[in-house]
Structure formats: structure tokens, C-alpha cells
């Protein structure tokens, strides 16, 4: 029994390593995209931060709290977008390349198989955050507030795990409905709008507050701001950590189960290869 579990764990690690290798190989295969990211990140930072500042008096535009709040919101946007651009995108890519049936012939974990973009997302998140922080400091002459780098890294990783859980469910949708096209952007904006990422939760009017509090990203954003800026949290920090970790674990389990169910259904109906 023990040996079986060990063998299973070793196989799972092997799959994880292969998935990471594919993800990182694809990421480094297109250096032009990495350079473009470096060039455009500060530009998009200005384009998205300036409109928000227009709603404040000019005298407050240099406020470190406001600018830091917007900086961490921009970083969290990357975490949220991993939910729609990770598994769904990997599945669609294999469908279009005509290789998905081959992958489904293996006994590898489907969740790990299509998780490859998460590895490049993790790397890209680290690079982008560090680079954007430099640009942010230079552009706005404001020090970046980062009380606990480890705490921020942990909260962002937890956020990526939540994105992975949601991404698995979204990937199941892609597997079922094939081309979801513009739905990616819609879902992304719905998540951004219903989570207290770009706005403090306290400013949300009462009827909508329940929706905002139901989003796991609200707590991730809350924890990131707490660890980075020392901001007050909605719930006690320990409770928020436990809550976010629990939600991440639950979403990963539900997402994996959904993906497996959709695959089984499609196999039964002979629609796995129809796209």
C-alpha cells in the first residue's frame, strides 16, 4: 500500500516536471514576447493608472497609499488572468494542433497535463512584479511598500492556486464547448469587477458587498495589501489565510473532478475529437 502511494507520488512528480518543462520551453521559445512584455509593462501601467487618478484631486496623485494600492491591483490582475488564460488556453492549443487525443491516450493527470502555462505564469509574475516595481518607483517617485516580501509571495502563490482551480473548471468548459473565444475577456472582467482588487472592500455599497465578499480574490487582494502595505484586513489575517487556502484546495479538487467528468462524457459520446 505504502509502496503504491510512493510510486503514485513519484509518477505525479514526473508529470509535474514534464508539464513545467513544456511550459517553460514554450515561454522561452518566443523571446520577442518577453522583450515586448518588458517594453510594454510600464506603458500599460501608466495607461491604466492615470484614468483612475483623474477621479482624485491632483494634490493626492502622489499619495503613496493610493499608488501602491493601484500597483498591487495591477499585479493581481496578472493572477486573475491566469484563471482564464491557463488551462483553457492549453486545452484549446492542443485541440487546434490536433494533439489532444494523443494526450488523452496517456494515463497522466489531466490537471497536471494542462497546467503548463501556470509555470510560465509563475515565472512571468515574478519577473513582471520585480520589473514593474522598478518602473513604478521611477515613474511616480514613490517608494514601493513591501513590508513582508515572503508574505506577498505566499499570498500571490495562493492566488495563482485559486486561479488554477478556477482555470481547471474553465478548461473543462473549453473542452466541452471548444471555442469559447471572447468569453475569456468577459470572465476576466466579471472576476475583476466582483472582487475587491481595484477598490477597497469598504467602499462597496451594501447590496453588492455580499458578492464582493464571496469572491476568493477579495481575500487574496486583502492579504497582499496587508503583507505589502500593512493595510487592515476584512477578517483576522490568520482566518483569511486559512480561508484562502481552503478555497484553493476545494477549487482544485472540484476543477479536477469537473475536467475528468467532461472528458468521460465526451468519450462516451465520441465527441472528444470533434472540434
Amino acid at each position: 500500500m505504502g509502496a503504491r502511494i510512493l510510486r503514485g507520488a513519484a509518477a505525479w512528480l514526473l508529470e509535474l516536471e514534464a508539464s513545467a518543462r513544456i511550459g517553460l520551453t514554450l515561454y522561452f521559445r518566443y523571446p520577442a514576447w518577453i522583450v515586448a512584455d518588458v517594453l510594454t509593462t510600464p506603458i500599460w501601467l501608466i495607461v491604466f493608472i492615470l484614468p483612475a487618478l483623474l477621479f482624485m484631486p491632483k494634490s493626492m496623485w502622489g499619495s503613496p497609499e493610493t499608488l501602491n494600492f493601484l500597483f498591487w491591483a495591477m499585479v493581481l490582475w496578472t493572477v486573475v488572468s491566469a484563471a482564464v488564460w491557463s488551462f483553457g488556453n492549453a486545452i484549446r492549443w492542443e485541440q487546434e494542433a490536433g494533439t489532444i487525443e494523443v494526450l488523452f491516450l496517456t494515463n497522466a493527470s489531466r490537471a497536471v497535463l494542462f497546467a503548463r502555462r501556470l509555470f510560465s505564469a509563475l515565472l512571468s509574475l515574478g519577473i513582471d512584479t520585480a520589473y514593474t516595481a522598478l518602473v513604478f518607483t521611477a515613474l511616480f517617485s514613490t517608494p514601493l511598500l513591501l513590508h513582508s516580501p515572503l508574505g506577498v509571495a505566499a499570498a500571490l502563490t495562493l492566488g495563482l492556486l485559486i486561479s488554477a482551480g478556477l482555470g481547471l473548471g474553465y478548461g473543462a468548459l473549453v473542452l466541452r464547448f471548444k471555442n469559447v473565444g471572447p468569453l475569456n475577456n468577459v470572465v476576466q472582467f466579471i472576476i475583476l469587477g466582483s472582487s475587491a482588487i481595484f477598490y477597497p472592500p469598504s467602499t462597496v455599497p451594501e447590496p453588492f458587498r455580499a458578492v464582493v465578499y464571496a469572491s476568493p480574490y477579495t481575500y487574496i487582494a486583502d492579504l497582499v495589501r496587508h503583507e505589502a502595505m500593512g493595510a487592515a484586513t476584512i477578517l483576522p489575517p490568520l482566518l483569511e489565510w486559512l480561508l484562502a487556502a481552503g478555497v484553493a484546495a476545494a477549487l482544485l479538487a472540484v476543477g479536477t473532478w469537473t475536467l475528468r467528468r467532461v472528458e468521460e462524457n465526451l468519450k462516451r459520446r465520441g465527441e472528444l475529437a470533434a472540434y
Binding site: P51, F55, G181, N185
Partner: protein, 280 residues
């Protein structure tokens, strides 16, 4: 007589491009709907953040910083212009890339058409569609404001947008040339789009930038269009230098189109000579 024949032939080519574009667009209705609602979604996000940060005096602050009382109209207007500009810039390059991917790119070279002109024609249906989308995005908000634009103002707004998109077609031709040469140019397109978005001031007044940045922005056609359209649609005024700006847009259109044309032809000649044309 031969000139008339050639003119009629060109009309047939334009008709063919319109028909092809219509067939492709009608396959992706979801994407069209997305383009239509995207300015509202982005505007909604900015409004939400803005009101959360600005509190009860958010609208007053916005009016003081921009001179516009309706922030949502301002944001949707900016978003509609931004999307139109982005799509036009990538349109020519992506049309070529699609032909390359399905293996029909070289077939175009068997026809007696001028290729630079043919790829240029691809911008016409998209330009008209984006102008219509812009009108469809703005109309409900202007109507809610209670200040319906006159037909002449609509015509002026649509004309200015279309005129500002023409120079971008020139940039699109340069990117198309890069597509023929380097095949994968999405990274370049993304970079060009971000620079043009930054310097156009779709979502903010360019006066916020230092003078040197404003002077560089004056070379970007959409910066003039954004300013003009914000005045006409959001501020309901015609600025005194409107005609100067329109003339400048026309000059920029000619200059950018000529530069794009020359670049494309040069790359194409080179590609034909070196056999690069069909390598991808």
C-alpha cells in the same frame, strides 16, 4: 479606355475584399459583440476604481481634471477609439498572417493585382466597421445625456475617426511588411499598440504629460482625433482649431500611408528576390 477598365477592375477587387471580410466577420459574431461591449467594460472598471478612490467628490474631481462632466461617456469614448486604433493597426498584418497560415498567401501573387493596394483595401471594411461600432457605442450614452448630436456632428465625428484611422493603416502596412519578413510579429504589434495608446490620450488628457512627450504625441494621429472627438462628443463644443487639426490629420494620413506603402513595397521586392515570400 484602359484607365477606365483598370478602375472597374479595382472596384471588383474592393468588392471582393469587402465580401471576404464580411464572410469572415460574420463567422465570429461573438468577437464583434465583444468589441462592442469592451469599451463599456473597461469604462465600468475605471469608473468603479475612480469612485472608490475619489469618494463622494469623484465626479467633481474628474470634471476639474478633464473638463468633462460625464466620466462614463469620456471613458467609453476613449475605449471605442482605442479599440478601433488597435484593430486597424493589426488588421493588415493579421490578414496576411491568416493567408500564410492557410497556405493561400502565394495565390494572391498569381493575380494581376497590386499587392500593397490589395492589403490596403483590407483596412476599408474594418475601418468602416470600427466607425459604425464607435457610433453604436457612443449613441446610447449621448442619448441618455439628452444632448443628441445633429446628423452633421455625427458625420463630423465619424469622419474624424475614419481620417485618424487612415495613418494607422500606413503603420499597419509597415507591420504587414514585417509579417512577410519575420512571420510572427504579434510582439511588435503589441508594442506599437501600447505606444500609440499611451500617446493618444484616449483615457486621459495629454496635458498631464511633460512638454516633450506632448510634442512626440503630436506625431500620433489618434492624439488629435481623441482631442477633437472628446470636444465634439463629450464637451459638446467645436474647438476653434478644429479645421487645423483635421488638415493635420489629412497630412499625417498621406505621410504615414506613403511611408507604409514604400516600406511594404521594398520588403515585398526583397522577399520576391530572395524567395522569402513563401517561407513561413
Amino acid at each position: 479606355m484602359p484607365a477606365r477598365k483598370a478602375g472597374a477592375g479595382q472596384l471588383l477587387v474592393v468588392r471582393g475584399v469587402f465580401y471576404k471580410s464580411y464572410r469572415i466577420m460574420s463567422r465570429y459574431v461573438g468577437s464583434l459583440v465583444m468589441i462592442l461591449v469592451m469599451p463599456y467594460m473597461l469604462g465600468g472598471v475605471f469608473m468603479g476604481i475612480g469612485y472608490a478612490l475619489g469618494g463622494p467628490s469623484a465626479a467633481r474631481n474628474f470634471a476639474a481634471n478633464t473638463g468633462v462632466k460625464n466620466p462614463f461617456l469620456y471613458m467609453v469614448l476613449g475605449g471605442a477609439m482605442m479599440l478601433a486604433a488597435m484593430i486597424i493597426i493589426e488588421n493588415t498584418g493579421s490578414a496576411i498572417r491568416e493567408e500564410q497560415m492557410i497556405g493561400t498567401f502565394e495565390l494572391h501573387y498569381l493575380t494581376p493585382n497590386n499587392m500593397a493596394l490589395l492589403w490596403l483595401y483590407h483596412s476599408l471594411p474594418m475601418g468602416l466597421l470600427m466607425t459604425a461600432m464607435f457610433a453604436a457605442d457612443i449613441a446610447p450614452l449621448v442619448a441618455v445625456e439628452g444632448g443628441l448630436l445633429s446628423p452633421l456632428e455625427w458625420l463630423a465625428a465619424g469622419g474624424i475617426l475614419f481620417l485618424s484611422l487612415l495613418p494607422l493603416v500606413g503603420i499597419g502596412l509597415v507591420l504587414a511588411a514585417l509579417t512577410v519578413r519575420f512571420k510572427e510579429v504579434w510582439a511588435v504589434i503589441n508594442t506599437v499598440n501600447s505606444v500609440i495608446t499611451l500617446l493618444s490620450g484616449f483615457y486621459y488628457p495629454l496635458e498631464l504629460f511633460p512638454r516633450i512627450v506632448r510634442e512626440i504625441a503630436a506625431l500620433v494621429p489618434t492624439s488629435h482625433a481623441a482631442q477633437l472627438l472628446k470636444d465634439i462628443v463629450a464637451r459638446a463644443t467645436l474647438p476653434p482649431d478644429a479645421m487645423q487639426k483635421v488638415a493635420l490629420l489629412a497630412v499625417l494620413s498621406v505621410a504615414y500611408l506613403a511611408a507604409g506603402w514604400a516600406t511594404y513595397r521594398r520588403w515585398e521586392d526583397n522577399a520576391r528576390r530572395t524567395g522569402e515570400l513563401s517561407k513561413y
